[in-house]
Amino acid sequence: MTVVAHYGWRGWLAQRVTAVVMLLYTLFLLAVLVSLPQIDYDRWHALWSLSVVRYATIFFVLSVLLHAWVGVRNIFMDYVKDTGLRLVLYVLVILTLIGYGVWTWQILWAV
């Protein structure tokens, strides 16, 4: 029997799109850090108060979380044969990733 699972294709694409977003953000952040003459608390704090940094970071973190989900799901699909256990692990990973997303939002908007 052939089971057609379209999420395979979506995951494949999501992994690549998020990878490019993360790559661009990494270059962006490196360029910003290198351009700072020196880093102390005031400069660091001011940097993270910039909307452009905040929104770029949120966009980056969302990419990280989606990318992590697809990657970890693939690892579990390969090594965890028991369906029940695999589903439990999926739920734990999803809840953890959502928690990280909320946490990031709190960190950035507390600046």
Binding site: V20, T26, W44, H45, G71, Y100, W103, I107
Partner: protein, 124 residues
Amino acid sequence: MSKARPKFLNLLQIRQPIPAVVSILHRISGALLFLFLWIFLIGLQRSLASPESYLQLKAFIDEPLVKLVILGLVWAYLHHTFAGIRHLGLDLRLGIELPGARMTAYAVLALALGLTVIAGVLLW
């Protein structure tokens, strides 16, 4: 087809080709980054919460053991990134012939390790 063909599938004893080494390290580095995501978030939070927590974090990062963990994560980030770029290239059918695939696999290993060493020198 003969059923008596010898099989040797102990993955730990087979000498893996370099692209296979890069591939499994891609998976391992990805898993490590996932497991240590919270460290990045705590670091960001502590660095921004107050001038005091910023200085505390700075002192904490000066511990040799902490530096080692950071370097491990730096390597994981670099390897995962370069192996990922190589993967995107493969998707675009770049470097799919064996010599090219070997060369880019060596490049990924060398770039990740080399830049980790440089990061280590800068950190110490």
